[in-house]
């Protein structure tokens, strides 16, 4: 079983199916294309996105539906092509048609308060495990949405 050296979690074992590929990386981290999703029971519903290339790089995220159950996903044509090369529509996990996607919002600290980036959620194709940070072209959602009650 392959192992990953991580600063936050130490040496961890994983299976290839746990690896998420970001073909174009993440903005400001374009070189990092392979990540692991780690969901420790203790900190549920938080999901950690750990880089396989850089042991110190780990993003703290929350499922989008936890931050905003009514979130309306909007993925640009360019990003859709990465997630679904065949051009099928993207749907939430559990729905019957289209490509099932899992969405995560990256958590940061604004001042000392935790905020979620709802402007650019991570969208993961569950079947192919390919993912993209889907930056919205509109300004419907904030890049610093407060999530204090969810994180601490």
């Amino acid at each position: 079983m392959p192992q990953a050296d991580t600063q936050q979690f130490g040496l961890i074992e994983y299976v290839e199916d746990d690896v998420i590929e970001f073909p174009v990386g993440l903005p400001a981290f374009e070189q990092e294309t392979s990540f692991l999703l780690i969901t420790p029971l203790k900190t549920k519903p938080l999901v950690f996105l750990q880089s396989l290339g850089r042991s110190e790089l780990c993003f703290v995220t929350l499922p989008l539906e936890v931050v905003d159950p009514n979130y309306q996903l909007s993925v640009s044509a360019e990003d859709s092509k990465i997630l679904s090369p065949a051009g099928q529509t993207l749907t939430a996990v559990g729905q019957a048609d289209g490509v099932q996607v899992e969405c995560l919002a990256i958590i940061s600290l604004t001042g000392s308060r935790p905020t979620a980036n709802l402007l650019a959620p991570l969208v993961i194709n569950r079947a192919t495990r390919r993912a993209v940070q889907a930056i919205r072209l509109d300004n419907t959602y904030s890049h610093q949405h407060p999530v204090e009650e969810l994180v601490c």
């Binding site: 936050q8 979690f9 400001a28 981290f29 203790k42 703290v60 650019a120 940070q133 890049h143």
Partner: protein, 76 residues
Amino acid sequence: MLIIRRKAGEAFHIGDSIEVEILEVGTNQVKIGIKAPREIAVLRNEVFLTESQNKAAAAAASALLSRLTGADKSGM
């Protein structure tokens, strides 16, 4: 904020090295051409915000984790 009115084909300068030209004005979109030195980063606002937010998130991960789990890293 400085506000100026320009028509398609008109341009303006920022400092000595940056020229911005309005190429086309549509009903809900304008096409803009930017001439700037290579070392000046030109980013769409949403990309700029996401880049800085990602950098902040990467820097905040340790602080967030220790707030969430205390010093205990055995919570796997």
